[in-house]
């Protein structure tokens, strides 16, 4: 029970942090937001980090993303991945 409470509090804290996106994070939705053939909002942080690492080291070929991944450090990417995984890209379309 206690660990569940901690988890919930972490989720809530994560939500609060997710409201201020790290540098570059809001760029993703231009291509990967609602309506995209490649939506990112159900990706985990680990999946995003692994994909970006693959774009940077050439092990994951792609037409565009290697050119963009090159502009972000590992720390930048981790912050963006955490924000996306916490639901940062999900708009509340009231």
């Amino acid at each position: 029970m206690r660990s569940l409470l901690v988890l919930l509090l972490c989720l809530a804290a994560g939500g609060a942090q997710a409201q201020v996106p790290p540098p570059g994070a809001t760029m993703c939705s231009g291509c990967h937001g609602e309506g995209s053939i490649l939506p990112l909002d159900d990706w985990t942080a680990a999946e995003i980090i692994a994909a970006m690492a693959g774009f940077k080291d050439g092990s994951r070929p792609a037409t565009l993303m290697p050119r963009l991944a090159a502009g972000f450090s590992d720390e930048d990417i981790t912050a963006i991945a955490d924000w996306i995984a916490a639901g940062g890209m999900r708009h509340d379309t009231r």
Binding site: G33, G35, L64, R67, G71, H91, D92
Partner: protein, 421 residues
């Protein structure tokens, strides 16, 4: 501390709500923002600020926005203008007011904006996203009336329909002239995508026709990719003539359908004359447009270098290195919204990282891109040297087809974000 099952559901609900719901701002942190212009920049800014909990008024002259992106596909005969049209009423969110009117005056001291209809709007921050206006007097013989004979089609809508109708009416074997302006202008690869997609149409419908690009510049955006595509898809149909080859247009005669160059007169069956541009007129009224014709702004907050409290985004702004594109406008709008939100909460806006990605189509299933990543240096945006660049030359057809699919996917995601469409 222990929780019973009911308390836990409440706590879980709170956690989910923290993720999904817009933040509740205290009254003092809630800014009043007026946004002028409902294109990719203005509509995205208004919606993002409304989602962040601020009080937003979006002022736009036209009830429906027609996107320039994919308007070349209309000229190519494989998309309809209706599918590029977004009623701005569909873009409004809670906490956001839409006014269909023109902005006519700005008082930066009183922090007010006056509309043509007489209403005076008060703001804490004013955001201008007016796009471009055309310099009709820059080219002898070309004016608004001439644009009915020699359409620019550089604002999507009736001009696009007119140019398409002229292409449809043209006899096989006709010469289509495209006359792009010098840099900087809206959508640097646009004229060359246009040449490509008109060639796509002519190859099917009027294969003896030719396209001549009479250009004001020696080189153009994505040039190696376009020229590779033209040689492969439309051999012999498109000629690019730079100023050194006599390509600079120095005057037009719309009645005679001729264009004068430094090397002689060219007679066209269809003439697409794209005049030079500058920031939309309200930027001049507001005092944020300088002698270059554009609006110098911060690369962090997009606040004008000339008038405090007024921010400019999209094609009209000059924040440093970013090109004038719908992607840039949408990206700048999101950075601006976060920066204004920080300012209203009394925090320092963060140093941003922006992206631009411009896809061009050379045929419906043949796309490529230019990309850039931008960071702030001494208040302006600079392009990161190690990132960005063009799609690979000599790429396999499947890569070009994939980038064409990505272009359509970018469009779907971005119009959804900007216009709710």
């Amino acid at each position: 501390m222990t929780l019973d099952r009911r308390q836990m559901i409440v706590a879980a609900g709170g956690a989910v709500a923290a993720l999904a719901l817009p933040r509740r701002l205290s009254a003092q942190d809630r800014g009043r923002v007026v946004v002028v212009g409902g294109g990719f920049g203005g509509a995205t800014a208004a919606r993002t600020l409304a989602r962040l909990g601020h009080e937003v008024t979006l002022v736009e002259r036209d009830a429906t926005y027609v996107t320039c992106p994919f308007s070349n596909a209309v000229l190519g005969g494989f998309m309809e203008l209706e599918s590029l049209s977004f009623p701005l009423a569909g873009a409004t969110l809670d906490g956001m007011r839409l006014i269909e009117d023109s902005a006519v005056d700005v008082d930066p001291e009183a922090r007010t904006l006056t509309l043509a209809g007489g209403e005076v709007l008060e703001w804490d921050r004013l955001v201008l996203s007016p796009g471009v206006e055309f310099l009709y007097d820059a080219l002898p013989g070309y004016d608004e009336a001439a644009a009915e004979r020699m359409p620019h089609a550089w604002k999507a809508g009736p001009q696009t329909a007119l140019l398409r109708a002229q292409l449809e009416a043209m006899a096989d074997g006709g010469l289509v002239v495209i006359a792009p302006p010098a840099n900087p202008f809206r959508c640097p690869p646009g004229p060359y995508e246009r040449a490509s997609l008109i060639a796509h149409y002519l190859t099917q419908a009027k294969p003896a026709s030719k396209i001549l690009i009479l250009d004001a510049k020696e080189t153009f955006s994505k040039q190696p990719l376009f020229q590779e595509a033209w040689a492969r898809l439309y051999p012999g149909m498109i000629e690019f003539r730079p100023p050194s080859m006599g390509g600079r247009v120095i005057g037009v005669d719309p009645a005679a359908m001729t264009l004068q160059t430094e090397f002689g007169t060219v007679a066209a069956a269809v003439a697409n004359v794209i005049p030079p541009q500058r920031a939309g007129a309200i930027a001049q009224v507001a005092g944020v447009r300088d002698e270059t014709g554009w609006c110098p702004v911060s690369g962090v907050t997009f606040e004008s270098d000339l008038v405090p409290g007024i921010h400019v985004i999209g094609d009209a702004c000059a924040p440093g290195a970013m090109p004038k594109s719908a992607f840039s406008a949408n990206a700048q709008a999101k950075v601006l919204a976060q920066a204004l939100d920080a300012l209203f909460r009394g925090e320092e806006p963060q140093s941003p990282r922006l992206i631009n990605t411009c896809y061009s189509l050379a045929a419906p299933d043949f796309g490529f891109s230019v990309a850039g990543v931008y960071a702030e240096a001494e208040g302006k945006l600079t392009e990161l040297a190690d990132a960005g660049g063009l799609s690979a030359l000599e790429a396999p057809a499947q890569d070009r087809a994939q980038e064409a699919d990505y272009a359509r996917s970018w469009y779907a995601a971005t119009v959804r974000e900007a216009f709710g469409g």
